[in-house]
Symmetry: C2
Subunit: 407 residues, 2 copies
C-alpha cells in the first residue's frame, strides 16, 4: 500500500526490498548503516540518496501533490507510472543516456536508480559556463533514437498504437497545455514578471494576431499529433552529465506528441543560455551557438539515417522500384523539414513561458541586476515573437536570428 | 457467452432480451411470430431484419473473420465494440442522422437498432441517378458536428484524451493503412484491375516522386493526427436515406484521426459518381457537382460557427482582448484551410484505391462496357494524381479540376 516515505522509511524500504538491499548491503550488514538524505531540488517529487560507503543509489517518490506548490495543488501519483515506463522505454533504446533502473513500484510510486554522483545538472553547469565537448552529440543521438524508435517509421502500427494508449498522460499534458501554451499568452494570475520587465513587450505579443494564431496552432499540434514517445520536458535541468557521460532524467511528462516539441524545448533552453551571456563572454557564446547548430545537425542527420537504414532493411514493396529509395529519401527530407519548423515554433513557446510564465530558468532568473535581467527577458520575448512568426530554411538562419537578440 | 447467431438463434435472442421482445411482441405473443431474414450485403458482418407485422428492427452481429473474404481472414469481433461506442457517441451529437440504438452487447458483438426500411443506400440511389435535395445539408451537418464536438476545440483536454484511448482501433485502422494508403501504390497481390485498364497510368503514379511522397505524408497524417472521432469509412454505401431523412451507418472504423479524412472519403465518392456519368447526363452531373460544393461549403461554414459560438460561450482568457475574437477567427480560418488541404489529399487516396485496390465502387465497377469502365478508371486515377499534388484555394477550383476528367 502507498505511503509517503521519509528518511527512516526509505531505510526500511531498502531493507525489505531484496534487489535494493543486495545493491547496498552485504548479507550480514544492518540497514542502520544506510545514510539517507533527501536532495529536494525537484519541483514535483522527493528524491533520496541512499548510501553505504561507496555504494549508493537514488530513490525517487511521487507524492499526490505538486511539491513546489504544496498540498493545495493536487497531482496524482500516476505520474510516476509514466516516469517509470518512459525510463524503461528510453533505457531500452538509448542505454548509454539513461540511468540504470534497479527497481520500480507503481503501487509506491517510486523508482530506484543509479546515483549519478559523478554528474551534474546541465543548467547549473552552463550557468557556471562549463563546456561539455560530447553534449551536442549525446543529446542529438538521444533525440534521434528515442523519437525514431517509438514512431510509426519503425514500430508496427499495432505496437505504436498500444504505446500511444499506454502513454495517454492526461494530467501532465494538461500542465504543459496550460503553462507552456496558454497562460503566458493571457492575463493569467499564475504568470510572474520580473520587477523591471517592460510590460509593453508582453502586451504586444499577447495582442498580436500573428503570434496568437501561431501559438494556437502549436498548442493544437501538441494536443493532437501523436508522432513519437516524447520525453516531454527536455530542458537543461533534465540532463545530468560530466565530460564523458550524459544522462537524460525526469521523463514524467512522457506522452505521444509531435517530435519537434522535445527538440524545440531543448534548443530554447540553449538559446536562453546564449542570451543570458554577457557581451564579453565571446567564447561561451560561441560554444552555445555550436551546441545549437551541432545538436540540430547531428540529430537530423541521424534521424534520416535511421529512416533510410530501416527502409533498406525492411525493403517495403511501396518503395521497391528503380527510383523508390530516392523518392523515400525525398519523403524523409520533407518530414525532417516539417519537424524543423515545429521545433522552431516550440522553441519560441518555451522562450515565452520561461520569461513571463510560472516557471523561470535560473540562467536568467538568477541574474541579480534587475535592469539587466529585464533586458535579457525582453530580448528573449522579442526573439520568440520573431521565431514563431517566421519561416527558416536552416539552423544557421535560426542562430543568426537569435544572435540579433544578444544586445 | 459469444456465439454466432442464425435466424433461429436471433429469434431466441430477441425472446430472451426484454427490451427487444417488448419492441416486437406483445406480452402474450410467441417469439415464433418473428420473421427473421439475413440481408447479407455487408462486407464484414451479419445483418438480420426481425419483423412482426409492422414492427421491426435490425440486429447486426460481428463474426471473428472478414465476412466478404471468409474464415481465413480473421478479424477480431472487437470491431463491434467500436461500432457500438461510435454509434452511441454520434447519436448523442447528431440524433437526427443516426439510427436509434435499442440494445447492444459487447459480449455477443451485436447491436440492435432501428430498421431503416423506408430508406435506401445512397450509392445504389446515385447509380439510379436519384436526387436527394437535403443530402448535402444533412451530411455537412453530420460532419461538422461529429468532428467538432469530439475535438479539442470543444471537449476538455481530459475528456478528449479519454476518448482517444477508448477509440484506439488497431485492427480496423490497419485495414485502412494497408488498403487505402499502401497497397494501391505498390505491386501488391491484393490489388485488382479491370480487364482493359491502361496499366501505364498505374505504373506512372506508382513511380511518381510527387505522388508517392504526397501519399506517404497523408498516410502518416492518418496514423498520427488524433483530431476528432472519425466515422472512418464515410462512403456513399455508409449512408441510408430518403427525400426527408439521412442516416449514417456502419462506423466500425471509428478512431481519432484527421478530420479531413471523413470529408475527403465522402467527397471522393461523390467525385467518382460524377465521373461515372455519361457525357449526356448533364443534369445529374450538375446535381453531383452541387453536392460536392454544398457539402464543403455548408460543412466549413457550420464548423466555423461551432468554433466561434463555443468561444463566445466560454470566453477564454486567451482571446479576451479588443481584437481577440477576430484573431480567434483567423485561427479558425487557418485551421479550416488546412482541413481543406487534407480533405483534397484524402479524396485522392480514396479515388486511387477504389480504382486499383481490393474494394471497388459499384458506380464504376458495375459499368458493363469494359472499354468504358477502363476509361472512367483512367480518368479517376489521373484526376487523383493531380488532386494529390496540387494546392487549391476553394472547392470551386477542385470541382473545376474534377470536371476536366469528365471526358
Amino acid at each position: 500500500m502507498y505511503r509517503v516515505l521519509n528518511n527512516d522509511l526509505v531505510r526500511e524500504y531498502v531493507d525489505k526490498t531484496p534487489k535494493l538491499r543486495s545493491l547496498l548491503l552485504n548479507d550480514d550488514e544492518s540497514a542502520s548503516l544506510l545514510e539517507v538524505s533527501e536532495i529536494g531540488d525537484g519541483n514535483l517529487n522527493f528524491v533520496y540518496i541512499v548510501k553505504n560507503g561507496d555504494k549508493s543509489l537514488v530513490i525517487k517518490q511521487a507524492v499526490p501533490y505538486l511539491r513546489c506548490v504544496g498540498e493545495e495543488y493536487p497531482l496524482s501519483r500516476i505520474r510516476m507510472t509514466f516516469e517509470i515506463e518512459a525510463l524503461k522505454k528510453e533505457k531500452e533504446i538509448c542505454p548509454q543516456f539513461v540511468p540504470d533502473i534497479y527497481h520500480s513500484s507503481h503501487e509506491m510510486s517510486l523508482v530506484a536508480m543509479q546515483n549519478l554522483n559523478r554528474h551534474k545538472i546541465l543548467r547549473g553547469e552552463m550557468i557556471k559556463r562549463k563546456v561539455f565537448p560530447k553534449l551536442a552529440k549525446h543529446i542529438a543521438i538521444f533525440l534521434a533514437d528515442t523519437l525514431f524508435y517509438t514512431s510509426d517509421f519503425y514500430l508496427t502500427s499495432k505496437e505504436k498504437k498500444e504505446l500511444v494508449k499506454k502513454f495517454i498522460n492526461i494530467e501532465l499534458c494538461k500542465i504543459t497545455e496550460d503553462f507552456i501554451f496558454t497562460h503566458p499568452y493571457e492575463e493569467n494570475e499564475t504568470n510572474s514578471y520580473s520587477p523591471k520587465l517592460d510590460m509593453s513587450v508582453v502586451k504586444n505579443f499577447r495582442q498580436s494576431k500573428e503570434i496568437k494564431v501561431a501559438i494556437a496552432k502549436l498548442r493544437y499540434k501538441f494536443m493532437t499529433e501523436a508522432q513519437a514517445l516524447l520525453h516531454g520536458d527536455l530542458h537543461t535541468g533534465s540532463i545530468m552529465l560530466n565530460e564523458e557521460e550524459t544522462f537524460v532524467i525526469d521523463p514524467e511528462f512522457a506522452f505521444y506528441g509531435p517530435m519537434g516539441f522535445d527538440v524545440g524545448i531543448y534548443l530554447a533552453n540553449l538559446a536562453m543560455s546564449y542570451i543570458s551571456c554577457d557581451k564579453d563572454e565571446h567564447s561561451y557564446k560561441e560554444y552555445v551557438e555550436s551546441l545549437i547548430k551541432d545538436t540540430w545537425e547531428i540529430f537530423s542527420k541521424r534521424f534520416k539515417e535511421n529512416m533510410i537504414n530501416h527502409e533498406k532493411e525492411v525493403k517495403s514493396l511501396q518503395w521497391d522500384y528503380p527510383n523508390g529509395l530516392k523518392h523515400f529519401e525525398a519523403f524523409c527530407d520533407d518530414f525532417i523539414a516539417s519537424m524543423f519548423d515545429d521545433s522552431v515554433g516550440f522553441m519560441a513557446c518555451e522562450m515565452f513561458r520561461r520569461s513571463v510564465g510560472l516557471a523561470k530558468v535560473a540562467d536568467i532568473a538568477d541574474i541579480k541586476d534587475e535592469e539587466k535581467r529585464a533586458k535579457k527577458e525582453k530580448n528573449i520575448l522579442e526573439c520568440a515573437g520573431v521565431l514563431v512568426t517566421s519561416k527558416y530554411d536552416s539552423i544557421d538562419e535560426v542562430i543568426k536570428e537569435i544572435k540579433k537578440y544578444d544586445r
